[in-house]
């Protein structure tokens, strides 16, 4: 491996990045995922953490451009130079540019260039690595069409990046099943909302502590899916997950890849069946079941196995009611009720959301059951509902769980 002259590095562990524009060759979500995965390769072997910004100046600005694009290294049309990136520093420092005249692909093909692979290489430069003459290493300067499904860094790459930043700190692990009682006693007893004074906010479960990342408290923050998992609450958006635990005050922010590398990011819905220690993730017309880190065998399965008509192509949101053992699936302006004991859809569904959840708009992005209430997320707002009375209690910002 090699480094740049004077070994420039980022003098901090929290490095930000921003994707300035997109290539028309790929879905935006696939570009986001490729870039997030590329960062994950490096964060998994260093103490570095990468956080995406959606506005303003980030350390690493990522863009697609053709020919002359404002720096001294113009691109050269199809083939030849594919991309370049600058070593850590201010201004252009750390920035990665991709030649828009190339055909960028999500998977390795022979008529395009795998964006994840090229991005991972360029981010090596953004972190301070030069080219390596070790054949097969990621920092080898020539593009190698490699299968990237289970891509691992070459030892030469690991040696290089750890020479600059050192090895990763111990990564936090998910709590195992044998946990102490799940809810601190001062919490609201289930089913007695009237006892709650308006100033008490159940979503503030831990002593408030300033959030670590500014975008946690972005008033426009929305979520793809939300679920509980062994006492924690996981909020999903794109390739990332915010993790709120009753046992430590900080909100963790990780990539989904770091927990479930083989799951595709960008879930539509998720819910936990707590008595089976099982979480189900939904994306498009498929769903997966996981227990902790492990993905249950036989998945993914088509959602129609659950009893949806073929006209349903995806799920907007899902939430499991621990009391009634029913799971509610929300699609457009309708919802279904699924009996987890009999593993079958209940008769008389779908019903209109508006009929049973007055005041709750649709489509519903995500749903959560916590402290005896249901929370339905729509855009940047969430609607707290008393399920017994099917009564809307109040409306809050979607990210009020983040101690903002």
């Amino acid at each position: 491996y090699s480094t740049f002259p004077l070994r420039p590095t980022w003098k901090k562990e929290d490095v930000t990045y921003r994707i300035l524009n997109y290539t028309p060759d790929m879905l935006q979500a696939d570009v986001d995922e490729a870039i997030a995965r590329a960062f994950q390769l490096w964060s998994s072997v260093t103490p570095l953490r990468f956080t995406r910004l959606y506005s303003g100046q980030a350390d690493i600005m990522i863009s697609f451009a053709a020919g002359f694009h404002g720096d001294f290294y113009s691109f050269d049309g199809p083939g030849g130079t594919l991309a370049h990136a600058y070593p850590p520093g201010g201004g252009l420092g750390g920035d990665a540019h991709f030649d828009e005249d190339e055909n960028w692909t999500k998977f390795t093909t022979y008529n395009g260039f795998n964006l994840f692979l090229v991005a991972a290489h360029e981010l090596g430069h953004s972190l301070g690595l030069g080219h390596s003459n070790v054949f097969g290493s990621l920092m080898y300067p020539v593009y190698m069409a490699t299968d990237t499904r289970y891509y691992q860094l070459h030892q030469d790459d690991i040696d290089g990046i750890q020479a600059l930043y050192g090895p990763p700190r111990e990564s936090p692990v998910l709590p195992t099943k044998a946990l102490p009682p799940q809810e601190p006693t001062e919490m609201i007893p289930a089913g007695a909302p009237t006892q709650m004074s308006p100033r008490e906010d159940p979503t503030e479960m831990t002593p408030s502590k300033p959030p670590q990342r500014p975008e946690d408290c972005d008033p426009h923050l929305t979520f793809d899916a939300i679920t509980t998992l062994r006492g924690e609450t996981l909020f999903f958006k794109g390739s990332y997950v915010w993790r709120k635990s009753p046992y430590f005050s900080e909100i963790e922010h990780d990539t989904i890849f770091s927990f479930w590398p083989s799951l595709i990011a960008g879930f539509d819905a998720a819910y936990e069946v707590d008595n089976k220690d099982r979480v189900l993730f939904f994306k498009d017309n498929q769903y997966w079941a996981v227990s902790g880190y492990r993905i249950d065998s036989g998945f993914p399965k088509p959602i129609h196995y659950l009893g949806f008509p073929t006209s349903v192509g995806k799920i907007d949101a899902a939430v499991h009611d621990q009391n009634t053992k029913r799971t509610y699936f929300f699609v457009g302006n309708k919802y279904w009720s699924f009996n987890e004991n009999t593993q079958s859809m209940e008769r008389g569904y779908p019903r209109k959301i508006a009929a049973d959840f007055q005041g709750v708009p649709h489509p519903i992005d995500a749903a959560l059951q916590k402290n005896g209430y249901f929370y339905f997320f729509h855009g940047s707002n969430q609607y707290e509902v008393d399920m017994k009375k099917k009564k809307l209690i109040r409306i809050m910002k979607s990210n009020s769980w983040f101690n903002c």
């Binding site: 740049f4 083939g79 370049h84 290489h121 300067p141």
Partner: protein
């Protein structure tokens, strides 16, 4: 088959550009000593061949040209 004159010229131009971009080759535009220029370029070809584990000859042979034409990253391989 023997390479046409035109092709040879193209390859030489391509190689010069490649070595300028990635191996810090600076063609001395107004050098009176053509042979010095060629020697300098042969040194850079040797450096590139060594980097990629090719046979180090200093000559623009077929394999060397092939490697130069591979899609690659735009950052230099070596820096002065």
């Amino acid at each position: 088959f023997p390479v046409s004159q035109e092709k040879e010229k193209e390859d030489m131009q391509f190689a010069k550009k490649y070595l300028e971009n990635f191996y810090d080759f600076k063609e001395e535009k107004h050098s009176l000593f053509k042979s010095k220029d060629l020697n300098h370029m042969a040194d850079k070809i040797r450096e590139m061949q060594s980097f990629f584990g090719l046979e180090v000859t200093g000559e623009l042979n077929h394999k060397t040209m092939d490697m130069m034409k591979q899609p690659r990253c735009g950052m230099p391989d070596v820096r002065s």
